[in-house]
Symmetry: C2
Subunit: 585 residues, 2 copies
């Protein structure tokens, strides 16, 4: 086990191996991947498919002198194992030392913290241009693929590489015939033709815009990959190296079901079954069920997603059932939002679904294509909570701060199953407002709600009390309830409790009412404070006699934290808040 | 004069004309354009180049049944004249009725308020998809060109049109061989080859990804345009209609200098000279001069722009002088920012320049490609003020709200010439922080400043007073000074006056100090309040005894307002603020 990998401590060691040893190294790396991924999960298919290519990259080039930029960087695990970080894979005690993405804090071989797609070519053009201006002759190598080429930033990067870089720039296009789900877009038709003709198809999208191009059929063969990379090493102009690989290579189940094995929870290697299974209802399945039902009832309904049906568990059968009402635009958030605006203008009821972290990729489209035009588009975002995804590149904690400040956009944070379903139904049926809904991130609860939300910015007064008013937004409402009980128990009075729902506006009637019987307003929100909900309340009350304390996270790129510990550290657990109230009331 | 145009009150009237009349109509339209543009300015070249094409569009198609989507929509003036809005051009009393962009409030022939580029194809895919789902057989026509094709959203749109739309969608590509400045990018190499071969060049970027394609050499000939549009009308799949036009067609000066005549101030038709000329120093010329000097002194310095050298008056000679230190990536903001991050990582000192309104097109790139990586990129934005650009699609008033809440990003708002130059110099030389600088939008002033800004978030205490503290950000600092004098005169005490500079952070030491001698803190900022600077101050002081009043604009898409009147309406003129203070102190 790990016979060759044990000898490899840096890329220099890779260069000493012969082809048999390199092939054995590939097996060792896959064993290392299995060891980590069966136990803690992570990106499976992208890494299994790129083992040979990354070994060849380190064999031919000399990192960190030569610069590798991995797109998304969820396929960089083999590279990590070859650059001094194999223990994060083969030794269970070291798993936590390595993030699931490239990370300059871990190694000089990683240039960027990357987790969103379609950035590698653009980043590489900057490395290349600065090299040329400052002097240097290292190779700059961008790795892209796995569906990321359809993102606007990548296409802008190709366009600029083709005209503004007149020196070395190597773009390794990892064509595994798959994105997160299946690929969508005309460029994949071109890649298919190129594969079918061994790269010789005359109508070549890369050559069309002036890029050099070379094709390698055997992207999972180390000798072939070494051969093609040697050909392009030290080349004096940009070139696309189109390599054909198999996503999930080396694990039959993953090869056969690429979508399910893009990313995996911990699993049993023999059966492929997840080790932990979650019983009971969750918000994702509630939303999925709503979508499937709505499609049956509303002929105007459409679902548009930038390749994230999986975020709402819409599997291949669901998508088939949705038929023409389902549009996957591939990884292309800008297109998803603008398309939804166009569809709404033509009378459809579009719902855009993805993860919160990816929606910031189309800020301008939400603001202009949708909100200036007041297009009734509904956007439903998953993983909006601090305790969803904790990788620094996938945080959901910025959603309220980013989107609560765009004019015309209603940002709704439902607090329960009923409220989620009610706001979805209301939003998709109405034709006046752009609406964004952040999915609750905590345990599913049921409670009565309003069912008509036309009274914009009308908060729900859940409990009338005195002295202290708790305005608890979205999935922090449950914390508000808990706090309310504690105040009653420990301080002997019932506080007022409010479910604001609207993160994007102020209920000035209710807030003015609070002035009478309250000394302190507490706001709770699941996100950073800066630009968020609480600051709006603080500003509103700024020159009044009531005091306001905002509880939320710092403006900070948190990384791989323990959610409950984070709440304590930031003084946001109910214990800390109660103590604050005791001291300040 | 206007013999034919006088008869045209709707697209139906265009259809009744014969070819001679249509040609005369083109002349009439150009006369109308001259009448408006010589007197109030606007987009020149894009409109003069599209007169014939838009006449042909209305001759062949039936708007509003058929749907036109104009990209950027700064080329839609001929369309506006043909759809009931000619008075906005030929009658000086009606100029103000028409915006410079498509606007659904003006006419049912305009589908979207558009002002940022590269959106038309994506919007059109939505119109087409909804038409197909809901039933209908109108033509959907996206007009794009003038450099907009290099934007990621447009390329995403092409990619999706080529695979997800299996029905009518007509993309008119207006190839005028120009962008705002010259074009940049490999796609323009392909368009050139296609023009040179009358559309027959085999390596066609559109066909490569599966789009149908047709070329029209004579885009400024009505008969030819009618002919080609008739061919594609009611087509049952997406097609690109590549038309060759001349930007500025019909005015020799504009044809010869396309960049200068992209947009114009009021001018004398005979000489082409501007009617009003501004004497004296402005911040734009100060920044331009700094850039040119810096390039001579710092070999690591680079300027990167998404086709907006004109925003800082960097003319063609300046760009030549800057040489390899100047990179225009074309209209591609995402690429500009990511490239800058890559360049910074390789040791360069990159400065990205454009207008504030366009920077929101790369929110994700600023957050991830730059800020998570702490890349020392400097971003300098023009037109950040409420009294810069007042079109709803080009407002600068959202900059502070959007960018002050991204972790690691220092958002600096200098208040004077000295401070602008000092922060620029400091920012470009340091290698620790991503920095964004908002250009002041008011009259140039000179004042002493700090010259070392390493003490992050350290506000400048300009005057120590009592009772009231004024924290006046950026180009509202002068208003703060005026307010201070008035308070002294009318209320008989000297208030404290602070120039915070850092819009993105809190100087807690100074703010705590203020608690001693002050009852009221006034914040002034040149932008919307929601998510902005003042709310951070209000939140900080939320549970203290000091009162805070934030002055700023509403979260609203203001459109074509009078800046001074707006200040009054929003209670932000010094008169209103003084009255507020009198009532609240």
């Amino acid at each position: 086990m790990y016979r060759i990998l044990n000898k490899v401590n840096s890329p220099e060691d890779v260069k000493k191996l012969n082809i048999e040893e390199l092939n054995e190294l590939a097996s060792d790396i896959r064993e290392g991947l299995f060891n980590r991924l069966t136990k803690i999960g992570g990106h499976f298919g992208p890494n299994f498919g790129m083992v040979e290519a990354e070994i060849a990259m380190h064999y031919v080039f000399s990192s960190p002198y030569d610069k590798f930029v991995f797109d998304v960087s969820h396929q960089s695990y083999p590279h990590k194992m070859l650059t001094g970080r194999k223990l994060g894979y083969i030794d269970d005690n070291h798993f936590s030392e390595d993030s699931g993405y490239t990370n300059p804090d871990e190694s000089e071989h990683d240039l960027f913290n990357v987790g969103h797609t379609s950035t590698s070519i653009s980043l590489a053009t900057g490395l290349a241009k600065a090299r040329d201006n400052l002097g240097g002759c290292e190779n700059v190598i961008a790795v892209i693929g796995d569906g990321a080429l359809s993102g606007g930033e990548a296409l802008e990067g190709l366009n600029v590489a083709a005209s503004e870089i007149n020196s070395n720039l190597i773009i390794i296009l990892n064509d595994n015939q798959q994105s997160i789900s299946e690929t969508h877009g005309g460029i994949y038709k071109n890649l298919k033709k190129l594969r079918e003709t061994n790269g010789s198809y005359e109508n070549n999208m890369f050559k069309a815009i002036g890029l050099d191009y070379i094709y390698e059929e055997n992207g999972n063969d180390i000798a072939s990959m070494i051969n093609v990379l040697k050909k392009v090493k030290d080349i004096n102009h940009p070139i696309v190296v189109h390599i054909n690989t198999k996503k999930g290579k080396g694990y039959k189940l993953a090869e056969d079901n690429k979508e399910n094995w893009h990313w995996t929870m911990p699993f049993d290697r023999k059966t492929g079954k997840p080790i932990f299974s979650y019983e009971g209802e969750d918000y994702t399945s509630i939303a999925r069920e709503y979508i499937l039902n709505k499609a049956k009832l509303d002929e105007k309904f459409m679902v548009i997603t930038p390749n994230m049906p999986g975020s709402f568990n819409l599997n291949i059968d669901d998508r088939k059932e949705l038929g023409e009402k389902f549009v996957d635009v591939g990884i292309a958030e800008e297109q998803a939002i603008a398309m939804a605006s166009g569809a709404a203008k033509r009378g459809a009821h579009p719902l855009v679904i993805t993860n919160t972290t990816f929606m910031q990729r189309c800020y301008d489209q939400i603001s202009h294509d949708v909100c200036i035009n007041n297009s009734p588009v509904t956007i439903l975002l998953n993983y909006s909570s601090f305790d969803g995804l904790t990788d620094v590149t996938h945080l959901g904690i910025f959603g309220i701060s980013i989107f609560s400040n765009i004019p015309n956009l209603l940002l709704l944070c439902p607090t329960s199953k009923n409220e989620l379903l009610d706001v979805l139904e209301w939003s998709i049926n109405q034709e006046k407002h752009p609406v964004m809904i952040l999915m609750p991130g905590n345990d599913v609860t049921e409670r009565n709600t309003l069912t008509n939300f036309d009274n914009i910015n009308k908060y729900k007064l859940e409990q009338t009390g005195k002295n202290v008013a708790i305005i608890a937004l979205g999935d922090f409402y449950q914390m508000g309830e808990e706090l309310s009980k504690k105040i009653n128990n420990e301080l002997g009075f019932l506080p007022t409790l409010i479910n604001p729902l609207y993160a994007s506006g102020i209920d000035n009637i209710l807030l003015d009412e609070l002035l009478k019987e309250h000394k302190l307003v507490i706001t709770l929100e699941d996100g950073i404070l800066d630009g968020g909900f609480g600051e709006k309340i603080a500003s509103y009350y700024g020159d009044s006699d009531i005091k306001v304390k905002n509880f939320g996270l710092k403006k900070k790129f948190y990384d791989r934290y323990n959610p409950l510990e984070l709440l304590k550290e930031e003084g946001m657990d109910t214990e800390s808040i109660i103590n604050y109230i005791k001291e300040n009331i």
